[in-house]
Amino acid sequence: MASDDSADVVVVGTGVVGCLIAEQALDAGLSVLMLEAGPRVDRWRIVENYRNLPPSLRLFHWDAPYPPKPWAPHLETRKDKEAEQYLQLEGPNARAYLQGYVRYAGGATWHWAGICWRLTPEDMRLNSLYGVGRDWPFAHDVIEPYYTRAEYALGVCGPSDPASQWPPNAKRSQPYPMGPTPFGPGEHRLTEVAAKIGLMNIPAPQARNSGVSYHGRPPCCGNNNCFPVCPIAAKYDAATALPKIEAKGGKILVNAVVYRIETGNRKTVEAVHYFDPDKGSHKVTGKIFVIACNGIETPKLLLFSKDDRNPNGVANSSDQVGRNMMDQPKLIADVELTEPLWTGVGPVQSSSVMNTTQGEFRNSHAGALLRMENFARSPLGAAAALKKGLVGKALDKEIRRISACTARLTVEHEPLPSPDNRLTLSSKKDWLGINKPNIYYDVGDYVRRSAKEYTVPLLHKLADGLGATSFQLSPEFLNSDHIMGGCIMGTDPTTSVVDADCRAHDHHNLFLPGGGAMPSGTASNSTLTMAALALKAADAIVDQLRHG
């Protein structure tokens, strides 16, 4: 049994990665203590926070229902000034790293879309096949069983027809635990139009209960609010795992901001130190330490733990901690159409065009995922119609027209790891005196070429097919909130931070699983791969504690 200051496995972070590892360790009979920087907040409060936002903040400000505690700041965008407070961003594409994540118990899965793509075999061999980026230290057949376990742990719904499954060229060892959710009118029409220009819009596997209850959570009822919060927990979020972890004997300390990883002789991690909200410092010891506080907070903590024994920071003899920061640089096109499309029926995302992510072209430019945002556009339609000064029947007619006959098309590009895209410690400090993260970000020519030669022309074609009368492209690359690369995985300790089990090369009892470990960003949403890596790390942790 864990105490407040010691356990077999100490997990820092209560997001999807930390929770999966905690449950696996508990199931293996190990004691687990979890530390979370932020508060633990009930779902109903977050839903109320959301509904009490003015309409202009209910869309595109996914952080707004999650006000941070002073001791656990995260990105806030309700006001421009707030957006500059925490993340310190620089470089030609600083805007593309304005990452939203939640420092609450449950982590960023509170406001994820629930999309669960698997990587393709090619996604893991970029360097061998296309001469760009890095290869993974293991092949796709090694990660496949972990994907399956992750799909069953999270409760992923997806198509049973192999022709609609992704990837198309790798076998699944098990079917999805649930069938897909139905398409609404918008996604149905998009699929038809895309097919005419060779784009395959396929049902997205989603960590969302489809038609049935699963793991004690209800089926999706189409509340169309997956982000910023699923009001009924039909979508998996790690907050739903917390009571299960406690029921199995795990301990969860919230408002506990880990600020230092302490190593002893022979590079063993001995303890982590955390601040409570009164700025009192506490020490937690354990046998294995898992740092899973997301792709920004984990490298920040490693760098902040710099001391005489670890002059570049913990786990950083390679100087790769905080480098290779990745996310899918996103472009959006707002289009107006002659015919109604009707979004806002079913989940906010249910499908994507995936065949555009793969191809020989990857030796010169990025692959990309295309999709349509499926959120209800009625608030946007109302705001635009009211702005025209319309009244009465004309007002209602225009609201209906704009809501039905507009859409947002999105393209997310595959990034390459670059050592120059780097997280360092800013000279600016937060409420506790901990340095804020500073990130330099340049999407690189690989992505810029893709946008110019490949994806923007594709967006235009798709918009034309939908009957667009106007096409407004975002003026710069945006963030996708898929933080990857800062603790990159590899076999060579001089060029990577963790091994194939997400174990730090430098410290045998320190694990850094999650997006930070991913050697390739790819165009696919990262969470299922993070979850698979978490389960792989959990197996290694259990094995290490059993057999030394």
Binding site: P219, C221, V254, I399
Partner: protein
């Protein structure tokens, strides 16, 4: 062990937002900003008669079912920001009566450009959006009753509300011309 910090964060957030309501408002329409005016003082000058007239003009400006409780709160909030609201409502009612108006189209062309028209549009906007301001800290007076969801209620979800049961939606949509009643 109960966590003494649990759940306190959003409560504090909400209180702060309400306290700030009168502070940093970006106003719709022609309402004047009076940052120092306490809400309670405004409420005192907003009589029952004013509230009744506000509902009357709202019903003439908007051809839909309006909730009285929501109207009371919107009217009080708008009056706190615009001391001339009572007079402007009375003037708008006079124009409507002069035209024997039953719907907004009957009298809106007669509303002169300027503060009167801006206030009329601000009243309509408040009922549709559920807020009298779109500032980050604005108080929300109506969520599911905000009329902006009405014109698409036969298809689009009110976000966070379910329109059907498990997987109970389809790709079918009625014609654009079929305006639902609301």
């Amino acid at each position: 062990m109960p966590d003494r910090y649990r759940d306190d964060c959003p409560t504090a957030f909400s209180l702060e937002r309400r306290e700030l309501l009168l502070g940093g408002l970006y106003l719709l329409g022609g309402l004047a900003v009076i940052p120092t005016l306490p809400a309670i003082a405004a409420a005192a000058s907003w009589s029952q008669e004013s509230a009744a007239q506000f509902m009357e003009i709202s019903s003439l400006l908007i051809p839909h079912h309006l909730h009285g409780e929501v109207g009371k709160r919107i009217g009080a909030a708008m009056s706190a920001l615009n001391p001339a609201l009572s007079e402007q409502v009375a003037a708008l009612l006079a124009i409507a009566k002069n035209k024997n108006a039953r719907i907004v189209e009957d009298f809106f062309p007669d509303v002169p450009e300027g503060p009167l028209k801006e206030t009329a549009l601000a009243i309509i906007s408040a009922w549709y959006l559920g807020v009298v301001s779109d500032a980050p800290d604005a108080e929300v007076f109506a969520y599911e009753y905000a009329l902006m969801y009405g014109p698409t209620r036969d298809v689009m979800t009110i976000p966070s509300y379910a329109v059907s049961g498990p997987n109970g939606w389809t790709a079918d949509a009625p014609p654009l011309d079929n305006m639902p009643e609301f």
